[in-house]
């Protein structure tokens, strides 16, 4: 704090450009970091995937997740980049790099980072089908989602008619990372 020489401990970017795992590993390198764990999500079994993100929510969400993981796993630095647009077979669509004093924290932090990003970051992919055409990949329901087929009556709590407060307008998903995120605020 206070010194411009201090490097940021989190780095988040959504980009159309190819990703460099080596560059992210350099970004999280620290004198006290004895361990760097690098995860790359690679496009497989299809000719290509087209990724779409809700910006800037996707970057804000990943930044929030990065800060929560940093605190929860005693990480020294976290970097994550996600591609949008067309990603060819064998290329990375997402790269996560974390550094920590020791490997245990680094592995745990990297694992929670990618799991939570996949569960919460508003990113979608459409995959090419053999023989032409493509379809949106059915992924995981977003946090606080409305279940399909539910009727209007089931999805709405009884209304008392009392004036509605705007307090607590939105709420965090109830994951361990979300709890750490609240504590970190």
């Amino acid at each position: 704090v206070g010194s411009s020489a201090l490097r940021e401990s989190t780095h988040v970017r959504v980009t159309r450009a190819p990703l460099s795992a080596a560059a992210l590993a350099r970004l999280v390198s620290r004198p006290g970091a004895g361990a760097i764990v690098l995860f790359q999500g690679i496009t497989r079994e299809v000719a290509y995937l087209d990724y779409e993100a809700y910006l800037p929510m996707a970057e804000e969400r990943m930044e929030s997740i990065a800060r929560a993981c940093l605190a929860a796993h005693s990480l020294q630095a976290v970097a994550v980049e996600h591609r949008v647009g067309r990603v060819a077979l064998g290329e990375a669509s997402v790269v996560v790099a974390v550094s920590a004093a020791h490997r245990r924290e680094a592995f745990a932090g990297a694992s929670e980072m990618i799991d939570t990003i996949k569960a919460e970051a508003p990113v979608w992919k459409r995959e090419a089908r053999d023989g032409g055409g493509s379809h949106w990949v059915d992924g995981t329901a977003a946090p606080r989602s409305r279940a399909p087929q539910s009727s209007a009556a089931q999805s709405r709590a009884p209304q008392s008619g009392a004036p509605q407060s705007s307090a607590g307008r939105s709420s965090e998903p109830q994951s361990p990372v979300a709890q750490a995120r609240r504590q970190a605020r």
Binding site: T140, R144, A152
Partner: protein
Amino acid sequence: MNVEVKLFGLLRERAGSPTVVLELPEGAVVADALDKLASSGPLAEAIARVSVAMAVNREYADPQTVLAAEDELALIPPLSGGSR
């Protein structure tokens, strides 16, 4: 009030537009907006088939969150994260 809802992925393609405008009564909540989208229009079939969440001002919102005309709303279809 009229609210504009951002669309992504299969919902954007189904609507043929990156946004849809909804007319809602004052004091409407997220569940009201989702009900309206599910009851008619180009997204009704897709919303009945997949889980859909709503983000209000770029945070996932509870169904009882009260909406205002100036809110940034987005309809969030299932995310790309799949198997571990």
